[in-house]
């Protein structure tokens, strides 16, 4: 029986990440929405997205720094985390204030401390959970066939676009902290 995701050879994951970072930077939404994209040259992509809660002035937004760990990419989706912008890490018990409060967004879970990852029963970590994140598959979820991460169809953009939508005024309610 399979238990969650599985590793992808580093050179393959790195090549897929590098290819899709280039595609992402060329996409019109980067300029359209002011996404900031950074890449470490390996398998870690960092994006900064702007969130707007109801009642915010047009030019007001809250920035969120999100890491997309592509170490199993693109056989599997990236592992997504909202992180401390200073450390680019998320430490349970210390960094919850960097999480957004998102309400009513369909099929989207954000857990500040989740325990129950496949193959790692003692691991406690942030879980961003929808079918275009790796955590979804590592936390005992099964998508409908048309929702399943599909290499060659889904890519970094597909995941980031869902995060962008969740951070807009229909669903975003400000920082947790």
């Amino acid at each position: 029986m399979s238990t969650g995701t599985s590793p992808v050879a580093v050179p393959l994951a790195r090549a897929a990440a590098a290819r899709d970072v280039d595609r992402l930077r060329a996409h019109g939404d980067v300029t359209r929405h002011g996404w900031k994209v950074e890449y470490d040259g390996g398998v870690l992509v960092t994006v900064t997205l702007a969130a707007q809660a109801p009642g915010y002035a047009v030019n007001r937004s809250d920035p969120y720094v999100i890491t997309l760990d592509c170490d199993s990419y693109d056989t599997w989706p990236p592992e997504v985390k909202f992180v401390n912008p200073e450390t680019l890490r998320y430490v349970v018990g210390e960094d919850e204030s960097w999480l957004p409060r998102i309400e009513g967004f369909p099929n989207f879970g954000l857990h500040a401390r989740y325990q129950g990852f496949a193959g790692a029963p003692t691991r406690v970590d942030q879980l961003v959970c929808f079918s275009l994140t790796r955590g979804y598959y590592d936390s005992n979820h099964v998508p409908e066939p048309h929702q399943r991460w599909t290499p060659g169809r889904h890519w970094l953009y597909s995941t980031i676009r869902v995060l962008h939508r969740a951070l807009q005024s229909g669903y975003y309610r400000g920082r947790i902290g």
């Binding site: 029986m1 399979s2 238990t3 969650g4 995701t5 599985s6 595609r23 996409h27 019109g28 939404d29 056989t75 599997w76 989706p77 369909p106 099929n107 989207f108 879970g109 496949a118 959970c129 929808f130 079918s131 275009l132 979804y136 598959y137 005992n140 979820h141 099964v142 998508p143 409908e144 048309h146 929702q147 399943r148 991460w149 599909t150 290499p151 169809r153 889904h154 890519w155 953009y157 597909s158 676009r161 869902v162 939508r165 807009q168 005024s169 229909g170």
Partner: protein, 114 residues
């Protein structure tokens, strides 16, 4: 310029420049990031614009697909004519997104691979 080249250039201009009274919509398919443009006559229904976009994108509607402009569903306007849709400035930048339904946290089950 040869006759063939001139004809090709003419066709390109015909294709790229909307005729008077026509409206050019940009549609992004969120699932793949693909973008397309649809040139619509004022008398078209919005639903026809969406149908053309799917066709141009090489996609078919999936269960739960939603068409949005800046996060707002356009479904209430699907039967509206393009000219009225534009006059009412419902999506002033004429940019739509087709949003596919993702799987979410409410569907626990056996572990699986994509």
């Amino acid at each position: 310029m040869s006759t063939d080249e001139a004809h090709a250039e003419y066709e390109k201009v015909e294709k790229d420049v909307p005729k008077q009274g026509h409206v050019v919509f940009t549609i992004t398919y969120d699932d793949t990031g693909a973008e397309t443009k649809v040139t619509a006559a004022g008398g078209w229904r919005l639903r026809e614009v969406i149908d053309k976009a799917y066709e141009a994108l090489g996609e078919t509607p999936r269960p739960g697909d939603r068409v949005e402009a800046k996060g707002v569903s356009l479904e209430p306007y699907f039967n509206m004519r393009v000219e009225e849709f534009v006059d009412r400035k419902i999506a002033p930048d004429l940019h739509f997104n087709i949003v596919s339904h993702t799987g979410g946290a409410a569907e626990p089950g056996a572990r699986t691979r994509p």
